[in-house]
Amino acid sequence: MMLLNLAWRSLLNRKVTVLLTLFSLSLSVLLLLSVEKVRLEARSSFANTLSGTDLVVGARTGQIQLLLYSVFRMGNATNNISWKSYQKIASHRQVAWTVPISLGDSHRGRSVIGTTADYFRYYQYGKKQPLSFAQGQPFADLHDVVLGARVAAELGYKLGDQVVVAHGMGNTSFAQHENQPFTVNGILAPTGTPVDQSLHISLQAIEAIHVGWQSGVKIPGADEQKLLAEADLTPAQITAFLVGLKSKMATFKLQRAINNYRGEPLLAILPGVALQELWQMIGVAEQALLAISVMVVLTGLTGMLTVLLSSLNERRRELAILRSVGARPWHIMMLILLESSLLTFTACLLGTLTMYAVLAVAAPLIQAELGLKITLGLLTGWQWRLLGMVMLAGILAGLIPGWRAWRNSLADGLSVRL
């Protein structure tokens, strides 16, 4: 206790260097904890994108690619699947529900998804949470659109507003379906998933806006209104569909059946497995991030070591005085060890507190900008372990100047000259 008091006072006596060391150490702890926090949140938000769905089915492609375009709305489908195949699988006796998805159009860079009202009933995210409406309801008319939360927030749409869908992806598409504007009929509550960034219309509406188009180009002179009235709006093909089964036991059987489907090449994936696989790919970046923050902590500790070691020379007198009033060499060593421990402990404390302060300020911003929801929870077991490792490294780092001080105090005796 007395040594702790001495260590504390001695540190206070060297305010400037100690504060600087503390500052850099705290920053490095802050970085380490924040990276860990963001990594965990990103991972859980990622795994929470889709739940309750047993299979995702699309045209044959890679499993990650299918996941990317059907769930994350990234990239494009190389092939579609026919309505007939979809019908056939949807009517399988093990299938409880299906949600068809038709992609390819966009609105100011956000995906427009053709689907059915089942989307709002069966699509689940997080821990089997269904979608819910902040305002309005599912599409009722052919030209109704339901907006994801961030589409509405970022583009400032409210119920009843008119939205024009563009053909293809991209912000500045030249081909607009401007003759058939959509009316905002519902706005979904935020989910923190790609749903927030999507616009939802009916499959029939997808067909309707492409009436009078061929190969992605508007046929000049075609009278859209007349054609529309006569057209059969049953979709010919869709991009992918989500499947919910009556019994989980049937998952692998149905998956195999779909993959061996003779009508056309199809791929059925287990979304959980595909999400895992995708995360492992991203995981490399995650590891790199963690490695960098570990390096930063090591740099911080090296800084502390440098300060402690270089202060030893100026402190020979101090240590000799302590020896003369009866301090044993191990007292001297403990004194230095306590200093490094105190510094590291304070840095861990400051770093943790700063992390919470930063998160409290930044969480709404991150949610608004990245759609990543960050919760201010208690420290996780792994974060405690990281802090423990920093503490341990700090104490170990203190052993080096501690040992030198111990040796110096034996060699110098009581007579250090200035």
Binding site: L12, S324, G326, R328
Partner: protein, 238 residues
Amino acid sequence: MTAQLADSAIALTDVKFGWPDQPALLSIDQFRLLPGERLFLYGASGSGKTTLLNLLAGVLVPDKGNIELLGRPFSQCTSQQRDQVRADHLGFIFQVFNLLPYLSLLDNVLLPCRFSVRRASRARQRFGSEEAAARYLLSTLGLSDPALFKRPVIELSVGQQQRVAAARALIGEPELIIADEPTSALDSDMRETFIELLDSQVTHSGSALLFVSHDLSLATGFSRSLSLAELNSASTVV
């Protein structure tokens, strides 16, 4: 054997010390300091003074011969035992910079009590508390102004700092006080005052005093004086 029964505070017999492969620094056939005795040891630089002090403090061990401190075979002790003896029975005053700058005046004086249970309990026995002992010693050394206690010790004058160091050496009444040039940073009239104060306090506590200095004019106040150069047959004139 307790310190009270020891027939000498310091006894050196045939002590030799030198660094390996170098001529001996110190060679003393016989040296004694009696309990409660006040000895002036004249030591110019190069006379082996530092070596002698480190030997007496137990930081160095002689190559040959015997050092007895308060009747204990000091040089045969383990370094832990020597550390214990130093903490319990020795008080030191150095030339300058005796104080820890980050401790208050009072905490500086109390330092030996933190490292020695014996000195702490002796201080408590006589004065009720360690702090009362420190305040008493400081006031007898002319440092009773409460304003002084609040100031950082580095703002004290050199004379005041040396008196704080003396109080620290005296607290808990160690049997032996070793003062190494304690007055050389003081001006001449303060020197005499300091020595008088130190002398009366040492008499009061019954400690032996070994006062080492290169200033022979200070020797007059001491009951005995010796020259280290004469004592040390290994001393080489620099």
